[in-house]
């Protein structure tokens, strides 16, 4: 009897009756994460396709950002015929100064301090001496001096003799328009730190010290 049952094990009816197991196996085999982890490179994803292992490709040398054709040389370099100038490339209004203040407090105040006097938590802890914007040399510097410095950074000393980049370029982090806004705000800061009573409108003087 038992041998007969074993013989039935692979019978056609039995196979049909248990076909759902195979069907379920196929269905579960269809479960996959392709939608969750799509075979595409998102920002910063590693890639085995490129030799350097990076999914994001570096800029091709000479590439120009869309709508950023640099025809206005003063706007992008801060130089007129190779010399710094004391004018803005576009009009200054209150909104621009507010923008300059916001950007200054993000990128510059870290070292130079919110008052621009070269005192900050980073400077104190790190033992560096950032420039004080209220020193006579910088108070008489042309406006575009600040733009050029933000764009190119500052190199101290001789290249051959222990020279070093004391301030890095911020050109990759701050747009040219914002660099000009910061320059305008630095000038406003300088004026604010060296103001006299005569700079206050007469009808506002009573509110001082309140």
């Amino acid at each position: 009897m038992q041998s007969l049952r074993l013989g039935n094990f692979w019978s056609v009816t039995r196979r049909l009756r248990h076909g759902w197991v195979i069907l379920l196996a196929f269905l579960l085999g269809g479960c996959h994460y392709d939608l969750y982890n799509q075979p595409k490179d998102k920002t910063y994803d590693p890639s085995s396709f490129f030799a350097d292992g990076r999914g994001s490709r570096p800029n091709v040398p000479g590439a120009v950002q869309a709508n950023r054709v640099q025809t206005d040389t003063y706007l992008y370099t801060g130089l007129i015929n190779g010399a710094k100038a004391d004018v803005m490339p576009f009009a200054v209004n209150r909104a621009l100064l507010a923008r300059g203040q916001a950007q200054f407090n993000i990128y510059c105040a870290v070292c130079h301090g919110e008052a621009g006097n070269g005192q900050s938590a980073v400077a104190q802890r790190g033992g560096i001496i950032p420039a004080n914007f209220h020193q006579p040399r910088l108070r008489v510097a042309p406006l575009s001096h600040f733009f050029v410095t933000i764009t190119n950074g500052v190199y101290r000393g001789d290249t051959a003799n222990n020279g070093y980049q004391s301030m890095f370029s911020y050109a990759s982090r701050i747009t040219p328009e914002d660099r000009w806004a910061i320059a305008a705000y630095i000038r406003a800061l300088q004026l604010s730190q060296n103001a006299t009573l005569d700079d206050v409108p007469p009808d506002q003087r009573a509110t001082l010290g309140q």
Binding site: L35, Y36, K42, A121, G127, Y164, S166, R173
Partner: protein, 219 residues
């Protein structure tokens, strides 16, 4: 040949049918809970990085703004991981001999990027855009928590669709003034709904009906 099972074994057979159904239900529940758990999703688990960089020190104690390093967060769909050059802006002069910064200095010398590990993950079918949220008054800390208190950063909550919809259904409960977006210690005021409704108008946030469309997040 005699009977192997006694007659009352029929009861066991019937019970085992119920047990099987129960088992399937339980397994489904257990697996669902497991795959949604913070344990499986590594929520609140600090992700070790190749450089022992501390947000607590830099963003907290020193008070460096988020955007000093994550420049593109208000301009682009992704918040950039800073280039090695950004680290070296300060660390070419500060703590130049520190062994903790060896990886950074090597990266700057060779041009090979530091392989930072991703902390906050969303599935490939979610197209999250940082800049639109920042510019409409959604604070960093709504999703990322108080990063200023994290020596090593972790993801403070799972980004399920429900988490996103919670805000997309009622943006007025979460919006804050633009100048407070990067303030990680911001506490929503008592009149948040009133303020939020004003900000929804002022910042031109999409109407709620559109904000919940599939295409807002999925393409």
């Amino acid at each position: 040949m005699g009977q192997i099972f006694p007659r009352n074994a029929n009861l066991l057979a019937r019970l085992s049918i119920f047990a099987a159904v129960l088992l399937i239900v339980e397994l489904t529940l257990i697996l669902t809970v497991y795959f949604r758990s913070n344990y499986y999703r590594q929520i609140n688990v600090a992700i070790q990085q190749p450089v022992p960089y501390s947000h607590q020190l830099h963003a907290g104690t020193l008070g460096i703004d988020c955007r000093y390093c994550h420049v593109s967060v208000d301009k682009s769909y992704f918040a950039n991981i800073p280039a090695t050059e950004t680290c070296m802006t300060c660390h070419s002069q500060i703590r130049t001999g520190s062994t903790k910064l060896t990886v950074v200095r090597d990266s700057y010398a060779t041009g090979q990027p530091v392989s930072w590990q991703k902390v906050n993950r969303v599935p490939s079918f979610v197209y999250f855009n940082h800049s639109i949220h920042i510019n409409k008054g959604v604070g960093c800390s709504e999703c990322h928590g108080k990063v200023t208190e994290m020596p090593v950063v972790w993801q403070p909550q799972a980004f399920f669709m429900g988490f996103c919809l919670n805000c997309h259904r009622n943006p007025e409960n979460f919006l804050r003034p633009r100048d407070q977006v990067f303030n990680l210690n911001y506490i929503h005021p008592a009149n948040q709904v009133e303020l939020g409704q004003k900000l929804v108008q002022e910042y031109g946030v999409m109407p709620k009906t559109q904000l919940q469309n599939c295409w807002v997040c999925h393409r």
